[in-house]
């Protein structure tokens, strides 16, 4: 009897790219729901626009590059990039913000480098940085979170603002948007307010920005679930959060009036989204065990530096891209010890 042959191993494979991406998307749900609850319909619009643009752009580019369209779209990586970028955008930004950012992310940062697996930079963060540099005004259009005494736009008003740029008669752009806690902190610390005074502001919650703290808790839960399901390695989130905590603790202890608390830094802005969903993007991150620790720690430290002394209130995107640049070198310098060999340092 004759049989087909192939090379080993033969057991059914356990993991699969699209299942991996699906898991990551599923893990985004708690954080995304919190975001949706606190910041309204704009979050959903951003997600839909970014996801749709990502899929179309990916399909078009694959077609142009002569690659299998359906099979590659099926891996879910483009959709995930769109969702991650969509989650990072201000909910009241005009619709074309999400379109431009996603197009740049997929077309330039991903496909022009060779598609999945070949992009040296995190595509979603490239898209985000392009937007924040090119359209700084539109990128501040965050509404006040639910539960704050402020004007909050309903579904139709948000639709009209996002897609037509039209505001209700009784509102101005200033009245329907609000500075984010990171922004407030940066500005007020610059004006020599003490941290205690800033924290007393109604826009702050129990330990960080109102609403933001729960968004971060949501992403933290999703992230821990991802780690339990072995979709991500623990090293990058742990070292990123650890280093952010330690650096902010150091400055907080040194001068509690002039620096935000460690808890505030951990639960503000995109910290948890960044730690579990963005920094862990395998393609652009460091891959060795020790390397992942350095890579995560670098992102944590850079995030703190940019938040505290940089020109932008939030630094995750820049920190991730800077460490993306360092990732190949980190990998090169942190090889694991090969079984039966001495330490690589000793060897050389």
């Amino acid at each position: 009897m004759e049989f087909p042959t192939r090379s080993s191993p033969y057991l059914p494979l356990r993991s699969d790219l699209s299942r991996l991406m699906q898991r990551v998307m599923l893990a985004l749900v708690p954080g995304a729901l919190a975001l949706l609850w606190f910041f309204g319909w704009g979050v959903l619009f951003n997600l839909l626009i970014a996801a749709g643009t990502a899929l179309l752009a990916e399909a078009a580019m694959l077609q142009l590059r002569g690659r299998p369209v359906r099979a590659t779209l099926h891996d879910g990586s483009a959709l995930l990039t769109g969702l991650l970028l969509g989650l990072s955008l201000p909910p009241l930004a005009p619709w074309w913000i999400a379109v431009v950012g996603t197009l740049f992310a997929i077309v330039v940062a991903k496909q022009l480098y060779g598609g999945i697996g070949y992009n040296p930079f995190n595509p979603a963060m490239v898209g985000f940085v392009v937007l924040i540099i090119s359209f700084p005004l539109q990128m501040t259009l965050w509404p006040p979170p639910q539960g704050i005494d402020a004007q909050i736009l309903g579904l139709t008003d948000t639709l009209r603002l996002v897609f037509a740029g039209a505001l209700p008669a009784d509102a101005s752009l200033d009245s329907v948007t609000m500075a984010t806690p990171l922004d407030i902190t940066k500005t007020r610390l610059g004006l020599n307010y003490t941290w205690g005074e800033i924290l007393a502001d109604p826009r702050f919650g129990a330990f960080a920005g109102h609403g933001w703290e729960w968004v971060n808790v949501g992403f933290l839960f999703g992230g821990i679930w991802l780690w339990q399901r072995r979709a991500i390695h623990w090293q990058i989130p742990a070292s990123m959060l650890g280093s952010l905590f330690l650096v902010s603790l150091f400055f907080y202890i040194a001068d509690a009036d002039s620096f935000g608390s460690p808890l505030f830094h951990l639960f503000s802005g995109a910290t948890m989204l960044g730690a579990f969903f963005i920094a862990t993007d395998p393609v652009s991150a460091a891959t060795t065990r020790r390397g992942r620790l350095y890579y995560g720690a670098g992102i944590g430290v850079l995030t703190y530096i940019i938040r505290t002394w940089g020109g932008y209130p939030e630094g995750i995107a820049f920190a991730v891209l800077l460490m993306n640049m360092a990732a190949p070198t980190i990998d090169y310098l942190t090889p694991p010890r090969v079984f039966g060999r001495r330490d690589p340092e000793e060897e050389s």
């Binding site: 049989f3 192939r6 080993s8 033969y10 059914p12 991996l20 991150a285 039966g340």
Partner: protein, 549 residues
């Protein structure tokens, strides 16, 4: 004498990397170990081991007996081959043999006569445990015993630690780590005494100070059987240590690490640590040969998978075609989709079931589509580094893949390609379904062939240079000979003068002749003008073309 002391860990260690896989051993252990019987034809390959192929000692038409030597080993790293049953040699030639490439190689084909008549044995030894280790090695060698764990390295070589080395620890490898394979477990359950005797012989041959049986902790029956044996025999020098079940804990270097915490040096051997490792089946084969006089003509093979009706462990004659083994287990089921020899992680797929089971065949896996599916299409590597976490060798599989893909064979060796044991863990967890092991095998083969090409061209260069030097030498020698000849002529200076004189004399004669002619010409001065004119005319006629005399 090099004395290395090895300390066994009180708590065996988990090997680095590795995978927890479904054991799937129960299917084949439901039935007791039984003989597969003698097939009509035995296809006995001449190369069933690492090292040189054996050389046939029989011819077509010869009658052979069971256990008769039919091919002898030509070198130290080699093993002889014996007839697995009695019958007639009907062919010696190339037939398909177990090899991933599906290649053919030299086999002796025996048409069995059903009598299974044994040859007189000359392997049996009295008082083995008092015998000279060299004699034991010779008998083990004569019995054609090779490592039955899978690699097939000639056992007698591994029983010889060398003159300047002492063996501190003998590790008996009973950690059958690949899924589905249960032949060692079946052997331990049914013939533990044979194993124990074999271990004692090995210990004596190696003069090993300690002996430990490393076994995976998911075989309680085998552990119980062997332990019972050890207790009954009041053997205190042999310990059995269960190690955590994790693939590939049965790898030699991995098992040694699990038991001792020591790492066999990269590109080194266990003996570098004072350790020798033998498979549990090999121990039984040694006992059979030296105590019962039977050379290695059979072994235990697991026949299992959803593709076979009654999975079982069989005592199989070397050279039995796989089809006969499947038949002995009730035949194929409809689900059969793929035929594997060895386990599903490191085995290889067979094109046809006419291929024989050989000394290193531990398992025939008739797998269903569910058990061994088609290779899914590969996507690009996303550098998730799951492979890094499971690599038992501490390598960076994604970098190896990258450089194998790019055919950068220098860089790939910087990443220690040759420390890869091809266990398949990386490919097993790859979410992009990249056949990583295949890439590593490709790179290794390519590097080997480049290396042999380099050696070949190096040899050609050396030859060319040698030729140039030889020509130069010959030229010099010729010149020297000439110079010598010239020198040797010098003392006979008289001869040269004689020659000179002869030449001078000849010249003289020529001159004289010329002078004579000129004298005659001078005689014409006295001729008349008319006579002179006639002579001139005659001269002119004599030499046409010349206008003047």
């Amino acid at each position: 004498m090099q004395c290395l002391m090895v300390t066994l860990l009180s708590q065996p260690r988990r090997i680095p990397g590795g995978l927890r896989l479904d054991a799937n051993k129960a299917q084949s252990l439901q039935q007791p170990l039984r003989a597969a019987g003698v097939p009509e034809r035995l296809y006995i390959p001449l190369s069933q081991h690492i090292g040189d192929a054996a050389e046939p000692l029989v011819e077509v038409g010869d009658q052979v007996l069971k256990g008769q030597l039919i091919a002898r080993s030509p070198g130290y790293i080699s093993a002889p081959v014996h007839a697995s049953s009695s019958g007639e040699v009907v062919a010696i030639g190339d037939y398909p043999v177990p090899h991933p490439s599906g290649m053919q190689a030299a086999c002796i084909v025996i048409a069995t006569d059903g009598r299974d008549q044994a040859a007189a044995d000359d392997l049996r030894m009295e008082n083995v445990l008092q015998a000279d280790p060299a004699d034991i090695r010779q008998r083990v060698r004569d019995a054609g015993i090779v490592g039955l764990g899978g690699a097939g390295f000639p056992t007698s070589v591994k029983l010889n630690p060398g003159p300047d080395r002492e063996v501190d620890l003998l590790v008996i490898n009973a950690a059958e780590c690949e899924p589905y394979i249960s032949c060692d477990e079946a052997l331990m359950c049914s013939r533990p005494w044979e194993i124990l005797e074999g271990i004692r012989i090995m210990r004596h041959a190696l003069q090993a100070r300690q002996v430990v049986i490393g076994i995976e902790d998911n075989m309680p029956n085998a552990i119980q059987c062997l332990q019972h044996c050890l207790d009954e025999s009041e053997e205190t020098g042999i310990r059995m240590i269960p190690v955590p079940t994790i693939y590939p804990a049965g790898g030699e270097k991995q098992l040694i690490y699990a038991l001792t915490g020591e790492e066999v040096p990269s590109q080194g051997l266990p003996i570098d640590l004072g350790i020798v490792c033998h498979n549990v089946g090999t121990a039984a084969a040694i006992a059979r040969a030296l105590l019962q006089g039977e050379p290695l003509i059979s072994r235990v093979v697991t026949v299992t998978g959803e593709g076979v009706r009654q999975p079982a462990n069989l005592e199989v004659r070397i050279g039995t075609p796989v089809a006969a083994l499947i038949e002995a287990c009730g035949g194929y089921t409809d689900a059969v989709a793929r035929l594997l020899m060895g386990g599903p992680m490191m085995g290889f797929s067979l094109r046809s079931d006419t291929i024989p089971a050989i000394k290193t065949t531990n398992c025939i896996l008739a797998a269903s589509y569910r058990e061994a599916p088609q290779a899914p299409p590969a996507s690009p590597c996303i550098r998730c580094s799951d492979c890094v976490d499971v690599c038992p060798a501490g390598l960076l599989p994604q970098q190896l893949y990258w450089y194998a893909h790019a055919r950068d064979f220098d860089r790939i060796q910087d990443y220690h390609l040759f420390d890869c044991i091809e266990c398949g863990c990386c490919a097993q967890v790859c979410p992009s379904h990249i056949p990583l092991v295949q890439y590593y095998r490709f790179a290794k083969t390519e590097i080997w062939s480049l290396e042999s090409e380099r050696q070949f061209s190096e040899l050609a260069r050396q030859r060319h240079e040698a030729r140039l030097q030889r020509l130069e030498r010959e030229k010099k020698a010729l010149e020297e000979r000439r110079a010598k000849a010239r020198k040797s002529l010098k003392p006979k200076a008289g001869d040269a003068d004689a020659k000179q004189a002869e030449i001078a004399a000849a010249l003289q004669r020529v001159k004289a002749k010329k002078a004579e002619q000129s004298v005659q010409a001078r005689n014409t001065s006295e001729l008349t003008e008319q006579q002179q004119a006639d002579i001139a005319a005659a001269e002119r006629r004599r030499s046409p073309g010349s206008g003047q005399p």
